[in-house]
Homo-oligomer: 232 residues x 8
Amino acid sequence: MNQSASEFLDIGVARVDVGRRDRCGFPEVIFGPGKTPEDLARIARTIVDRHGVVLATRVDPAQAHAVCEAIPEAVWHERARCVTVEREPLPKYDGAVAVVCAGTSDLPVAEEAAVTLDVLGNRVERFFDVGVAGIHRLLAVRDAIEACNAVVVVAGMEGALPSAIAGLVSKPVVAVPTSVGYGASFGGLAALLGMLNSCGSGVTVVNIDNGFGAAYSAATINRLLHLAAHRE
Amino acid sequence: MNQSASEFLDIGVARVDVGRRDRCGFPEVIFGPGKTPEDLARIARTIVDRHGVVLATRVDPAQAHAVCEAIPEAVWHERARCVTVEREPLPKYDGAVAVVCAGTSDLPVAEEAAVTLDVLGNRVERFFDVGVAGIHRLLAVRDAIEACNAVVVVAGMEGALPSAIAGLVSKPVVAVPTSVGYGASFGGLAALLGMLNSCGSGVTVVNIDNGFGAAYSAATINRLLHLAAHRE
Amino acid sequence: MNQSASEFLDIGVARVDVGRRDRCGFPEVIFGPGKTPEDLARIARTIVDRHGVVLATRVDPAQAHAVCEAIPEAVWHERARCVTVEREPLPKYDGAVAVVCAGTSDLPVAEEAAVTLDVLGNRVERFFDVGVAGIHRLLAVRDAIEACNAVVVVAGMEGALPSAIAGLVSKPVVAVPTSVGYGASFGGLAALLGMLNSCGSGVTVVNIDNGFGAAYSAATINRLLHLAAHRE
Amino acid sequence: MNQSASEFLDIGVARVDVGRRDRCGFPEVIFGPGKTPEDLARIARTIVDRHGVVLATRVDPAQAHAVCEAIPEAVWHERARCVTVEREPLPKYDGAVAVVCAGTSDLPVAEEAAVTLDVLGNRVERFFDVGVAGIHRLLAVRDAIEACNAVVVVAGMEGALPSAIAGLVSKPVVAVPTSVGYGASFGGLAALLGMLNSCGSGVTVVNIDNGFGAAYSAATINRLLHLAAHRE
Amino acid sequence: MNQSASEFLDIGVARVDVGRRDRCGFPEVIFGPGKTPEDLARIARTIVDRHGVVLATRVDPAQAHAVCEAIPEAVWHERARCVTVEREPLPKYDGAVAVVCAGTSDLPVAEEAAVTLDVLGNRVERFFDVGVAGIHRLLAVRDAIEACNAVVVVAGMEGALPSAIAGLVSKPVVAVPTSVGYGASFGGLAALLGMLNSCGSGVTVVNIDNGFGAAYSAATINRLLHLAAHRE
Amino acid sequence: MNQSASEFLDIGVARVDVGRRDRCGFPEVIFGPGKTPEDLARIARTIVDRHGVVLATRVDPAQAHAVCEAIPEAVWHERARCVTVEREPLPKYDGAVAVVCAGTSDLPVAEEAAVTLDVLGNRVERFFDVGVAGIHRLLAVRDAIEACNAVVVVAGMEGALPSAIAGLVSKPVVAVPTSVGYGASFGGLAALLGMLNSCGSGVTVVNIDNGFGAAYSAATINRLLHLAAHRE
Amino acid sequence: MNQSASEFLDIGVARVDVGRRDRCGFPEVIFGPGKTPEDLARIARTIVDRHGVVLATRVDPAQAHAVCEAIPEAVWHERARCVTVEREPLPKYDGAVAVVCAGTSDLPVAEEAAVTLDVLGNRVERFFDVGVAGIHRLLAVRDAIEACNAVVVVAGMEGALPSAIAGLVSKPVVAVPTSVGYGASFGGLAALLGMLNSCGSGVTVVNIDNGFGAAYSAATINRLLHLAAHRE
Amino acid sequence: MNQSASEFLDIGVARVDVGRRDRCGFPEVIFGPGKTPEDLARIARTIVDRHGVVLATRVDPAQAHAVCEAIPEAVWHERARCVTVEREPLPKYDGAVAVVCAGTSDLPVAEEAAVTLDVLGNRVERFFDVGVAGIHRLLAVRDAIEACNAVVVVAGMEGALPSAIAGLVSKPVVAVPTSVGYGASFGGLAALLGMLNSCGSGVTVVNIDNGFGAAYSAATINRLLHLAAHRE
């Protein structure tokens, strides 16, 4: 590995890691909070000029507006709180990734995962409003989930859904606890602990509300599967 | 209500609340930890002489031995860590209470619940080794659980079982988190938080490992149902 | 049990569990937070058209307005933060449920419990402003509480009230910790832990501020008692 | 205030604060844990030679043995885990201090408080086995508690007893949470938080299991009252 | 003790404990949060009509305005967030209570303590801006603090001040942790834990920001001392 | 999906999920704690008779002895605390999985992961004693890690290693926090939180010390890649 | 040491410790929160009149405006949230202090450190946007950091940067966790715990977001080095 | 910086970082827990053969015995739980480092700091048994502490000592919280939080009981001062 300091582009407010796509398979992703709309737009333009594709997450309306002004192809996914630019889209993979969601309140996080997966080249299958307290809804979609290459499960409150799904399918399950709930949910802590203690083998977990991280991990898997299938 | 101080019997080491059975329906229950075997045996004998029935929980072998020496009819339930005496058994109720258990490691707590229910006059239906990660085991016993008057659900790790059961049956569900687990289970905290945040309507929760408390609550319900059915 | 996928009604924003009333005895209840007023109104209309009765909890004024616009019979219970529709009211049960409350600050949670009990067919007896620091207020109403079939106890701060009540009555006690307090109340954690460690036998607990859940559990008990008494 | 460095006596293992009695009214108290039996005996002898009175708390049997060997007048209070020496006893005060205790498991902490009060010159009134779940036991002793000058209340589990007592008497109430309990008692945290959130006005709290600290505070009050009454 | 239900006055929004002054020495105190301005004013008027004196704490400007409109003699202590009415002031005690404060940010809590002490009949000596990091400021006022009958110490951040003071004076020290700080102060938790673990003998602690509670406890002590000195 | 109750084999102490291999790709794994040696041996024999392969984790020496007595082919991996039986080994996959480890103290958890991977048919590449404080050790093995299909990273203390690795390679990284550390590591909590907050995109996390779970997840990925490459 | 009470200047709202510069090497620093703009300006003027130099941290715009109105030389550092006055600047030291920063979101805290260092007489070398997930950015600046006398490392999320730096340089490293992050970062707790458990020898830590404290400590070191080099 | 992989010496159980002394100024230090006596002795011998000096911390008696058997010059510091070997001692520095300690129970941690400082070439001044509750002991040694180049302050319980010292001296203060205490000390958490929230400017903190880490940081400072003074 022979990475050098010239892989970084200094644009004043940040040193953009323009070598990351070569090293890790995807370009650097922008995390919105704490950046001024102008800075965020400038960083986005720097990345899109280099790679033709951008994903910014946790973007508020003012930031989204600034990026859309600066880059005509930018798309503002309001519910997902993301902005994407696909001037030169990443290659699309054969397989799909399932995004499963326990309740309507979990939609913003589930959509963040879905938008991330989409821009990273994955086909997304959405299974929203599937919960443990109504187990038959889950059984009804079990085969459709199994047909995907990886599963992102988003759930708040007690976070029991990933355990139930991991017991039904043979694909990697990445669980995202959400901060949905009140009282003893302690901002998603209950769901997080529930998922970490899952009795379902092989469930892995990301930070509370981190739909992006789960999608990124699932996309890594789906991409490897695509490459494996197309390697001769 | 005209309770007087003479309802208490002072036996030196404790003032036994001998009026409790009239007030609350059941005699006072003995909590073992921190009592010497001799003191525990003395308290047990005082209660059995008054009421003909005793339940002692969290009893260690030395304590159990002392009680069994002092009271010939005493029975030592080793796995449940309980001692019972039924010289004059409490009346038996018509209905049954289900005790559902997520894993073999939860057995001590589930048995504490079952022994408590039994001595309090309830028929007990045990459904052990039913977990969320193998949902079909649960569906297979759903109707048998629904046939009971109340359900005690004992579960460690992520504590998801009560949610799943509450979505399937119409009876009161009392959830008992257990300290089974490791790491981020934090001694049962994960299961406790999971149950408190249950998406299943009407699940109520007791302290970690408190099989007795859940059984007591379920017995109260079953007793009221018995009385309601036999009242003319 | 032969539930099928056709028990679910897909209305776009949510797949409503229209089979729940048959399975669990009550139709699905709507949790307000995170839903747009329009979505909430649409879900409410779907349920009321199927079952003739709706309960929505944690409803903010804008949501309440939308539901009341969409359904003429809708009632907005401001202090309880609930909307109810009783086009075809549920059957009323003989017995009453007590709602006991430690202080005026706990009223919103106590009212959520009371409104829930009411729409589910229960007669409600309110005992508000009864606290442990003024024990004589409690003793004065002890017999009236005992006359109910179940007791919902709502308390913030140190959450000691359920212990005191459980020592005085023979009916099931469901405790609701509230987030009332400051400093080391840690948003209701102190009350929650206090209730879970209650020295009163048979106290069960629900999530912080979850008046609905406690009421639902108490209603389940009251309904079973009604059925037991009327079964011949 | 003109305290000088010569108020300290260097005995190798510790610099004993021999001026403390003049400054604060009581000589320095020895905390046992982490000291070798020999060191503890040496410190005790240094203090008793200066002041004629010693209190050592949290003393284990080996430490107690060493002190009793070194000082003939030493007394080992086993349940309280204290050693006292009263070669020249402190003056006795007129008034009494109440020590109230919620359960037999709280006895070691309550006895630590009682022994501390005794050696500091206070008359002690013990009210053990008085709990919130059996409120009539408490009402029966209310007047006897009110007759004391200060009240130390020791309680584990939910720690509700101080609130109930503070609502009944007009004397200062010092609450001691104990580590008695299991599960969500979290080693006394539940009782501690309960007491800090007490709805009873004027309850003050000390560390978990700190019977000594509560007694010391109550003794300070009782001593001031004695001085006030005897000042002419 | 022969307290009856007629000691309570039902004013619709609350059952005022009008017998409390006889039982505990002070009338009931009003806690502002969660009450409408109208309700608070009504409760205040009820109490002042009975006892001639009122203290309301944590009062916001709108509530204060309502009380001042309703009761001409009402005084709004802005920094202390209290309203007092002294139509018939309580008797004044001889001795003083010290209020010691670690920093200017702790002033609101210290003032709540001072106003509470004042209305309860105590002379208040204020020692503000005395901290552990500048120990000489503390030594300079040591004798003046010792001259008081009790000491209320208010401190945020690491909460070390009560330990330092308890090592210098012989009077009861009541410590109030404040929520002043940031980061790992966790809303006053650091100060609270520091005070509970104080190495100074006899320090007792109240809830975070609870200036009222500390003052109430100190007032109880000062009142007893006054009574002891004036009893012949 | 047409799973039936006959997929379960009732052997008294447990209902073994013998259908799991078909549903999820691997047979049921045995978690040792809380099982008697005899029960564990019986469960192991039941599974090996059905599937020819067994993995038991967190096995203590007495349990291991019992299994090895009962099943001649059983192997006791002492450092990993695992027992494996490979009477009919699972098929071997082409790709390798890397197990990276931050320090010698993390070896038991890393070995649990390695043994699990091995029995599940994966080639294992061990990279032990690679830490963030000596970054050059990590850079030296970067290419060898990248050559694997998935990476299990085991680390205690501050848990920073997964972030560093995720920034260097393009493969899925599953992080395992360990309970190695003292003081503010709080039994692995510091490492767990560090990994959940990883700035490295796509890191997923399992429970503290859960080497098995991370390995299971990595094996799922490696197996899918094998299948994808061999599908024609 | 012969400090007297006359070292304090009473200005009504505060007793300014004007002797602190002699005792500790730097004048008293003003912490903004909780002070009115007027009080803050007054305190600032008192200090600048005595010492000719002022640093106020956590200053909001209104406070900054008031100080700048009152003191013409005052400078408002907006991003750092500091106001400085250098009417008579402190002596400048030879050596430099490095301020290293993990991400653009950490800039306010890093700037607080840099401004503090500057006013205290230190040359500041800024290394911003250097993170563990892009290790090559760090290696590229390693020698420049080593050339400084002390290193302040500011990092949020998992807080891994100080460990990596401590393994590369021989200078004292002071770590500042920041509250940057979401979910399981718990307001900076994850970064704080990570830094406290650093595997890098000799890393010391300050409170979350406490850029000032870290800078103050580094300045103390740099000043001593300057004095040591210039002492003959 | 031109470090290569050959700087590491692979001895089977560990890859020893033999280049660390050149990079960071001190050779690698051995952390005892989790290593077999044989492995620890082997690692120690490897390091001493390369550098002539070894420090192993948290060493239990069996480990110490193994090292002393293997290396004749090894010294076992029992109270400090350290083993040192100084075959070729490190150069000695001119200045001293103060180790200040709040109580006899803190001695093991204070001694770990002192032994570490000694082997790293520093003169150590011990100030043991100096606490905040007896402030005059501290004032008596203030000038002797100020004469040192850096101060390590070890304290349990409320951890207030560093604040008091930082207000009195001008040297860098490194604070070590200890796990000494009980109840709400939560294993040293109270002391840790107290130190992080210190009102004393420039206090930095290390992990609970980490005497080594604090000493290492202080030694780094003392070494730089020595170098600065001897550079011409």
